[in-house]
Each structure stands twice: as C-alpha cells, then as structure tokens.
C-alpha cells in the first residue's frame, strides 16, 4: 500500500489545508493510496493520529515518525510518502506518486531556486522501514536535533533544519538520494517581485515561456510549494 503522510498542528495553518491537500491528491491522481495525518484536531484524512503537544518532539519534526516502520500501521511492503501541507497540486501527479523507489533510497524533490539546499523536504518517498535510522537516531535525542541547526547558525529560525537533518542522515547512513525532475516543483510566495524572479529563473533553467502566468500553469509543473519562514498558501497569486 502507498501511504501519503502529513502533519498538521494548530498555530499557523488551518485544518482546511489538510482537506484541500487531500482533495487535490484525489483530483490530480489516479493512484490508490491511504492518507495519514498526525493532527491535533479532526482533519480530512483516511487515518488521523494524535499530535501530542506534551511531547519533546515539536512542530514539523513529527514528520520523522513516518520513517519508523513501527508508526502509522505500516506493513513491510508499504511505500511511504511524506508531504508538507503547504503545497498546491496543479497538474497530474501520478508520475510523482508512482516514482520508483528501492530499499535504502530516499526520493525527494529536486529544487532549482536555491543553492543552499540540494533538495526540498516537501516530499519524501521511501520503502517502509528502509530508512529507519533517520527516525531511530532522532528519537534518541529529539531536543538536540530540533535545535542543532539553529544553534549552529545553519538555519535562522528555531526548530528549522529538518531538511538538513534528513540530508545529513542520508549521507551518514549511505542511503541513496534520488531527486525528482527539477521542473516538477516550484517554490512560490505572496511576494510579487519574488514570484517574477522565480518565473524568470524557471523559464531560463527549463527553456519554457512561462512558469505561472495569470491562471496558466506550465504543463511541466506538478506542485507549487509555499515554502519559507512564515509563508502560507496564497492562491490569489496562483490560481
């Protein structure tokens, strides 16, 4: 079974993010999947598991639980996808959800708009349990890892750095890292000037006429990720 896993907690987004995400997965794919959401309130998902506010694990770091084969009722043959809910699906994503993955391999978004990170953590796909050390290492000392990249000045907001952690653990444990085609995903924001710049970069990198133009979305683009500190989905700038 394919499980598509997300995390929601009160404080920044709203439960309708999960519903919108779930509905768009259904709308833009023909793939059979089960959606699982760690949440502190009722949300639209096939399975909802509790978000524990009294845990030492905080915010989006709960995502890492899905790397454990003991979480979310995983079976050995399952394929697991973890996705952020601050994404808008804009074209068919069957190729994304069905992206082949092997044991000990992490498939994640290739990203093109920044040199700071090799990949974008809005999408992780792997075979159930095959990357368990990503969770096991974290679970030994979550308080350390959750602030490690902030304390070292690598990220500039507390509790950021989950992508850095996953990337480092992939290297440390010699897991294979596979990036999806870069043109499948873009960052987008509510800043007009920044979006113009992103459009220009996309056109140059992928030799196309546009990325997002008014209500038109380039056919190569599958997912728009409203990534960045304090960023929310702003559909006025998209569809």
């Amino acid at each position: 079974m394919l499980k598509i896993c997300t995390v929601y907690f009160d404080g920044f987004y709203t439960p309708d993010y999960v519903a919108r995400f779930y509905d768009s997965l259904k709308k833009y794919s023909t793939v059979d999947f089960q959606s699982v959401c760690i949440s502190d309130t009722d949300v639209k998902a096939d399975v909802v598991l509790p978000y524990n506010h009294n845990s030492k694990i905080v915010k989006h770091w709960h995502k890492l639980k899905f790397f454990s084969p003991q979480f979310a009722y995983q079976n050995p043959d399952d394929e697991i996808i973890i996705m952020d809910i601050d994404q808008v699906i804009v074209n068919n994503i069957d190729d994304l959800l069905n992206h082949p993955v092997e044991e000990n391999e992490l498939v994640t978004y290739g990203q093109w708009w920044s040199d700071a990170l090799k990949f974008n953590g809005g999408f992780y796909k792997f075979k159930s349990g095959s990357l368990r050390k990503i969770w096991d290492d974290f679970a030994l000392n979550p308080e350390f890892w959750q602030l490690n990249y902030y304390n070292k000045g690598i990220v500039h907001k507390k509790y950021y750095g989950e992508q850095n952690y996953v990337g480092n653990k992939v290297k440390e444990h010699n897991y294979k890292l596979t990036l999806t085609p870069h043109e499948w995903v873009t960052k987008y924001t509510d800043d007009y000037a920044e979006n113009l710049k992103l459009n220009k970069m996309y056109m140059d990198k992928f030799d196309t006429d546009y990325m997002i133009l008014d209500n038109e979305v380039n056919e190569k683009l599958k997912v728009v990720h409203f990534t960045g500190v304090g960023r929310k989905i702003n559909e006025n700038y998209l569809l």
Partner: protein, 189 residues
C-alpha cells in the same frame, strides 16, 4: 504490598495509569493489596514522587514510573532497604547513576521526605535534571541488579532475559499509532 505510581500535569493521563495497572495485573505476576496513585502536583515536576515517602510509612512498597513496559513475570523487586535502579550498566555516565523508575522499601522512609522538605524550593531549583541526582547526593540507597534495561536498545526486539523495560525518553511509543513488540502489552487506545 502496595503498588505506587504518580501522575500529574499533562504529560501523562488516566490511560497511562490504567495501562500500568493492566501490565501489572496481566503480566507481572505481582500480588498486591492496594494500587496507589499520587496526583497532587506540589512541585510541577518529578519531585512530586517524594510524597510517597510521606504517605506510605508501613509495609512493603513498590513504585513504578508510568513510562514502562512490563511484559513478563517480574523478579522479586520488594526490598527491605530503600532501593532503586542503577542505570550505569546500559548507559554512559551522567549526572547520577541512579534511576527511580522502580523504587522499593519496607516500613518508614519518611526521612527522605523530611530531608527534602527542609529546603524543597532550593532543591527543586538546583536539581533541574531530575530527582535522581538528589537521591545520589543526599540519601543512602541500595540498587537493584540488572533488572530493567532501556527500550532504546530493544526497539525492534523484545529483550529476552528481562521482564520490564523503561521507555526513558521514548514516551512516544505509548501514543496511538505505534506498533512494536511493546504495544502488544499496552492497553488498546
């Protein structure tokens, strides 16, 4: 014989108390006269446990933390003298060798409570890593032999030669959604 546990704050709830009792009743082989739960939140942290030394001044007493897995018949853990766990056989040296996840004594050890109450505010402010360091510095104690490993070394395989594990920092394993060998012994959520 008296079984004791302590629940306060938001970290643990009634499920955790019921779960401990369930594991004791189903798997431990322990026969006890009363199951006591300390719920008065005097200090907002682990020093609340010390109330048991004031309240229970007679008979055989056996205390368990709520974040344990009891999965088989326990060895005799009842002790005459004040006894707690020594963790140094499974973990690196830390601020204390002791772990009060399991504690036993017979009779009156209220001197522990009295000693603590002399300067409780100071102790709570000073020993911020836990009450186990306080025992180490101020109380004469005995320790158990190797009876209770940490689950961190046995996440994927039930430790065969023991009957109880501490979850340590891995409280998440008691949350809904986790399915390992340990969850077979927990109450269903």
């Amino acid at each position: 014989m008296r079984i004791i546990c302590c629940r306060f704050g938001n970290k643990f709830n009634q499920w955790h108390v019921d779960n401990l009792k369930h594991m004791i009743d189903e798997y431990s082989g322990l026969k006890y006269d009363s199951f006591e739960v300390i719920e008065d939140d005097l200090y907002g942290n682990w020093f609340n446990k010390f109330q048991m030394y004031d309240r229970f001044r007679d008979g055989e007493n056996l205390y368990f933390d709520l974040d344990m897995v009891i999965y088989d018949k326990l060895p005799n853990l009842i002790r005459k003298d004040f006894t707690l766990l020594d963790d140094t056989w499974w973990r690196a040296p830390a601020h204390t060798p002791l772990n009060s996840s399991i504690v036993s004594w017979t009779g009156d050890v209220s001197y522990i409570w009295d000693k603590f109450r002399e300067q409780d505010d100071f102790y709570v402010d000073t020993y911020t890593k836990g009450s186990d360091e306080w025992y180490y510095k101020f109380i004469d104690y005995k320790t158990y032999d190797k009876v209770c490993p940490s689950i961190k070394d046995y996440i994927y395989q039930q430790p065969p030669q023991f009957s109880v594990c501490t979850l340590g920092q891995m409280h998440h394993l008691q949350e809904k959604g986790w399915s390992g060998w340990y969850s077979n012994y927990f109450l269903t959520h």
